[in-house]
């Protein structure tokens, strides 16, 4: 087969450039071959005869190393973790010493004396690590570690074993042969001493962890532990011997299965896997379907885009979306279509696809997008009652008008709606009670009780104002009466040394009293202004809470209504 055929098969151009070069290549080595007759060489035809060089030497002789052979010495070393100072010897390369011109004998002596001097420590000393087993004394044992099933002696024994076998639990359990200290225990190797209790591995572990955890907390209070220590502490506390025993039992059963059972289980597991895989797919499809269903209806908005101008604006809008993908705030709070584009684009592809689809369809109808971003009702987890309590979720029956708000906002609202004077009063009262003006932890419970408290404070203030006002009126009436009596006395001809000012005062007071009787708030204001300062401050309140309480209710109701008006307005925005 020639190269032409190959080229044909490979659909390559028939004649290629490299061909002549190839020929040259073949020719080149041919010419260099020497010591071979031309006839012999031509026997090879196109393929040049391979000539393998004959190597007579098996290995190249190692180049003579000019340096003398490395010296090794049988050097002693010690192990710093051994307490007995055992000195063993091993072969080590002798450090290079400048060649001593002295004779052999002198050298030997030198070496001998060197041995005495430094004895290295083995590098393996660092591998001698011991486990830390909790330690305790009698006092601590009695205080923290008492247990009806364990004596101190046996606990000590367990700790000893744990230390001895480096917490290898299977071994500890295997070697656990506690004999309660009876004075004359036979020390025979095969003597069978009946063990009083058979301890399971879980018993031993449970006891150990309990002791370890107790001692840990004794040595270091919980709040000063670092996280790893605390994790260890938690783990030890969480050890549940019953659960562990159950698990072992289960494992044992699984271990003793027959072949048929094993096979059956395997096939069941396979089936389960298949079902799970399928359900995953199904879920995926279902989610997609939901997403499609959730997409906002496009009917109302299409009209905008029917004209070329509308399309232009749409294009503009999309451009701005592209530009401002990073930040939601740029688009503004008016909930324009791409509101959810920015953050969502960073989420999984599924979401992104969704939102982009919605953008294109929904246009300026922002509220729909907002709603669509909430993944649909199936995604929402149903909370249990406990969880609801924990997270403070409630389902209020009364209408919440203003959308989401912070709880403390809601709490401070009744205060902030009052006049500054009122606010100061409420704050004063709270201070007297030793409460902060703003709740530190406004949970639902504290919030409601705070509201109740505020309400009663307000009531209390109102009552106080009323009582003050009443006492003021009584005082005026008394003064009036005294005046009248004076006048009568004067009429009777009794001498009365009265200043002018008082008279006018009395007259005015009398006028005021009339005004109060007419329930005119302005007149009342005047009266209060002339009365003492407190009353003046309380003007509104006293007006509201004067014996004709109807107006007070009216007033508060109106306040409420204005608030709700405001909030509704805000909401509308």
């Amino acid at each position: 087969m020639s190269s032409h055929d190959v080229r044909d098969m490979l659909d390559l151009p028939g004649t290629a450039g490299p061909r002549p070069a190839k020929k040259q290549k073949i020719a080149a080595p041919r010419s260099t071959l020497k010591g071979l007759a031309r006839e012999v060489q031509s026997l090879g035809g196109d393929n040049p005869i391979a000539i393998v060089p004959e190597i007579s030497v098996f290995k190249k002789r190692r180049l003579a190393n000019r340096k003398p052979a490395a010296k090794w010495e049988y050097r002693p070393f010690r192990n710093s973790v051994r307490s007995d100072g055992l000195i063993l010897r091993h072969w080590r390369r002798k450090p290079e010493v400048p060649p001593a011109p002295a004779g052999e004998v002198g050298r030997e002596n030198e070496a001998d004396s060197q041995v005495e001097e430094p004895i290295d420590d083995t590098i393996f000393a660092k591998f001698n690590v011991q486990v830390q087993v909790p330690e305790y004394n009698d006092e601590q044992y009695n205080a923290y570690l008492q247990n009806e099933h364990w004596t101190k002696d046996e606990t000590d024994y367990l700790m000893g074993l744990a230390q001895e076998y480096d917490l290898r639990w299977p071994v500890i359990w295997d070697r656990y042969e506690y004999v309660s200290p009876i004075p004359d225990v036979e020390e025979g190797d095969d003597a069978i001493i009946p063990a009083p209790k058979v301890r399971s591995l879980e018993d031993l572990k449970a006891r150990y962890y309990k002791v370890a955890a107790a001692m840990m907390i004794v040595h270091k209070p919980q709040d000063r532990m670092i996280s790893s220590e605390f994790a260890l502490y938690e783990t030890m506390l969480a050890f549940n011997p019953a659960q562990e025993t159950a698990r072992k039992k289960f494992a044992e059963n699984a271990f003793q299965r027959t072949r048929e059972e094993a096979k059956e289980e395997e096939s069941l597991l396979l089936e389960l896997k298949r079902i799970l895989a399928r359900s995953e797919k199904l879920n995926e499809e279902r989610r997609e379907l939901y997403a499609r269903l959730e997409a906002p209806p496009s009917s109302g908005n299409i009209g905008i885009y029917s004209s070329s101008q509308g399309l232009q604006s749409l294009l503009q809008q999309l451009m701005t979306v592209d530009k401002s993908k990073k930040r939601r705030s740029l688009i503004g709070p008016d909930g324009a279509s791409p509101a959810s584009a920015g953050p969502n684009s960073l989420q999984q592809g599924f979401d992104r696809r969704d939102s982009s689809m919605r953008e294109s369809i929904s246009g300026p109808s922002g509220s729909a997008v907002k709603k669509g971003a909430g993944q649909g009702p199936t995604e929402r987890r149903q909370l249990t009652e406990d969880e609801e309590r924990t997270y403070g979720v409630s389902h209020p029956t009364d209408r919440i008008t203003s959308g989401p708000f912070f709880r403390y906002e809601k709490l401070s609202k009744p205060i902030s709606l009052k006049s500054t004077a009122q606010q100061a009063k409420i704050t004063n009262t709270l201070n007297e009670l030793g409460l902060p003006p703003r709740l530190i932890m406004p949970t639902v419970e504290t919030g409601t009780s705070y509201e109740v408290l505020l309400e009663s404070i307000v009531k209390m203030l109102q009552f106080r104002a009323v009582s003050e006002k009443l006492s003021g009126e009584i005082a005026v009436a008394k003064a009036h009466k005294a005046e009248r009596e004076k006048r009568e006395r004067a009429a009777r001809g009794e001498p009365e040394p009265e200043p002018e000012a008082e008279k006018t005062n009395e007259e005015e007071a009398g006028g005021e009293r009339d005004a109060a009787a007419d329930a005119d708030p302005e007149a009342q204001e005047d009266m209060d202004g002339e009365g003492d300062v407190k009353i003046e401050e309380e003007q509104e309140k006293s007006a509201a809470l004067s014996t004709r309480g109807g107006s007070a209710h009216k007033r508060s109701a109106s306040v409420l209504s204005t608030v709700s008006d405001k909030s509704t307005k805000r909401q509308k925005k």
């Binding site: 490395a70 055992l86 010897r89 091993h90 083995t122 590098i123 295997d174 190797d189 699984a254």
Partner: protein, 467 residues
Amino acid sequence: MASQQPMTSSMQPTDVYGGDEVSAIVLDPGYSSIRAGFAGEDLPKSFVNSFYGVQGEKVVFGDDFIHNPLANLEIRNPMSKEGLVEDWDTSTRLWEYAITSRLTTFKQADPRTNGLNDDTKDILVEAVDENEKALEEHPLLLTETAWNSAKNREKSIEIAMESWGCPAFWLARNSVLAAFGSGKATALIVDVGASTASVMCVHDGLILKKSIQRSPLAGNWVSSQLRSLFSTVEPKVDLSPHYTIASKTQVDAGAPSQAVYRKFDTEPSESFRALEEERVLTEFKESVVQVWGGPGKLNATNQSGTTNADYIRSQPGRVFEFPDGANRMWGVERFSASEGLFDASAALPSLNSADPPIQKSQTIPDMLRTSINAVDVDLRPTLLQNIVVAGGSSLLNGFNDRLHNEVSAMFPGARVKIHAPGLTAERRFGSWIGGSILGSLGTFHQMWISKKEYDEFGASIVEKRCK
């Protein structure tokens, strides 16, 4: 860096595998042989028969001396059938022989001071003194069985410290070392030696005592099965060891032998004959005996409705020629001698009627089951994946296959993996190799019981330290 460059002689081995060789000696005595060598080497340099000869006053050690058919040569073994030392005096001498004959005899001393060049008598006496303490420079790592008694353990440290003057000593369990030899710290060890088979679990280099199982169903028991077999097959096999044969002529298979027997003035002792017969049996075991690899027992019926034995009958047998020239083909019989290791009901009746029949619980699969059920369930899967087979008798052809089949059938839910070194020597010397690894580790040097500690605490320290 170290891994990229080839090892050179000038490199510290420490950098490579954590080794730090202190020329410790590892001594692994067993019922049939004693293995000794330097820690860090791959095989024991010294391999000595545990049997020794007593010739009147003289005691001879080693294969070179005990196989001579001398009139008054008694053959004895210092070990009990359980692998424990019974005769401490002779054991000491035997072990010393194993060490000094190959490892430390030619102690090179400075020619100026070794006394060879001058002939004053004082120096010679000194030299003798030095020789007495054979191991003054070498820490000794001795192995023991898992069921060794505390008394024996204390005795062994006494010998090492006082008779041999070791600077440091350690007593290790041979099954743990077998696990180390396979590179495992947690393993289930199946050790089938000459006198004892044992199964036990090792966790992190510590034997789980509750899991220790042992039985006499090992190499020597297979030999006794062979004797039973030889007495029942037709024609009967007359077991005559090599030394009894002066010459033999070739005969056809199954034909009676035509050997010329040697005449002795006084017959060599019974014990000598037993030793020599054992050698023939060992050869037979090595070349003919086979274990049915499974699945199922030898007598079980397989899927095609025939028994496994029937299947074997259809396969070619093996020929074995005894020293007297008699030879025959061994078909299914070669499987029956070893079947008892796995199936108590298939064991051949013993020739010696005093021997109790073997129990089901003594077979290897049953021991394994008992052993593994005695450990924590969390460990079991790991152990089943790390079954280490050691001991010379486990080299019976087909042993591992059968073991694997039996264990897999026993625990179908678990993954069973059997680790058995392929090299014969590694299987036979598994525990020695483990000792060699352990003794040459740099981290092991903190564990040695030093002479100083021994002097301070006495022999009981071995119980405290070597657990």
